[in-house]
Symmetry: C2
Subunit: 226 residues, 2 copies
Amino acid sequence: MAARSYGQYCGVTTAIELIGERWALLIVRDLLVGPRRYSDLKQGLARIPTNILSTRLKELQAGGVVRRAPMRGRGLVYELTEYGRALEPIVLALGRWGFQAMGDPGEGDLVTPDSLTMALRTAFQPDAARDLDIELHVGEVALRVTVRAGTLGVVQLAPAAPPIGGRLPEADPEAVLVAEPGIRHLIGGRVTPGEALAQGLVHVTRGDVRILDTFADAFRIDPLPA
Amino acid sequence: MAARSYGQYCGVTTAIELIGERWALLIVRDLLVGPRRYSDLKQGLARIPTNILSTRLKELQAGGVVRRAPMRGRGLVYELTEYGRALEPIVLALGRWGFQAMGDPGEGDLVTPDSLTMALRTAFQPDAARDLDIELHVGEVALRVTVRAGTLGVVQLAPAAPPIGGRLPEADPEAVLVAEPGIRHLIGGRVTPGEALAQGLVHVTRGDVRILDTFADAFRIDPLPA
DNA sequence: CCGGATCCGAATCGATACTG
DNA sequence: CAGTATCGATTCGGATCCGG
């Protein structure tokens, strides 16, 4: 038995031995958005030591979670295997669960394009969402967020948009939203769209402010709904 | 910012900082079965160092996941808070995901009453399950497993049954099943009940062998159904 | 026996530098 | 761009010890 094994024969234990090491699930989170190069991952996980990223990618490959693939043109990307993609509902559920415990950001805490993309997926309510096409800014990150027929689309605009991630809509967005960290109180249903505006948690810098109602219906994490 | 923080403002990151440390989620797994004393946890997680158990319990309390409570009579138990119990669907989903990657047990790998109880919950199919009342043995572990009206009940018989866990049915079980690790191929749908019997993956030491059909319908983990 | 605390060697992680 | 090498700082694991 490996020295660092948990020594149990159990599905949960097996899962944790595959994706429980430090940073591993954040790598999976970013790869759920799309294939990424080594340097994309390194940038998206700003504080990961490069040797740890290297080690984790090897472990995730050995575990059948991640695969190396040649990128069209040249270079190579890491992408999730089918088995790795099966983690999506788990990562989304963990994001919802963790959302409940989020306070204000610590100094130095970053929001990255991939983490914000996954946060939107985490909160997305396919049944309640009406059509929507906005530009969303959080700190330096800018995303084009669309909802069409209950399907969420996210395209990363800045910074350093990777070539992968879908195609931009032709038309201009309906509105441009600039969100502060306090936006989580709107997602969490603890303030109304009107209150969020009044408290400066979010600004609508272009378009009709009533877009916030549509936004709040589409993205929602209610307290403890399993 | 804490030195060991991931430095990101994101729900997944927050979740991992709460329950991502080594052993933490296995403590949660065992507490999902019921409140446990310090020594129960130490026995159920045989290879955990006592200082790590102590440290994790403090961290989980600080994170609002676990709470200390006085035990009826005297002594004390650890139990999940409401927030901690909200991890149940996540732990079950992780167990299903990890199940797909389970091979044969390494030497020294243990099956504990709590891990087997959670494994049964992981695989339980409420919609397909017909009524059932059996005794299930895996190694040293013995459980009384009942299904009544689509609801799963598990009572731990051995070894060292804790006082918590529900009440034994009055009558004798319909059958006694003795399972080997290969039982996972039955749960995984890779062999039929008849094949499982023929290959010695499971033995019916009392009662009608046809109980295995009922068992196989009630406990099932299909490959990659998200 | 219960519920830990303490100590110490081994392994891992984090930060930085360096290379094909 | 995609990592490897190195090394000090932390954490983990195993054992022992202690107060009730």
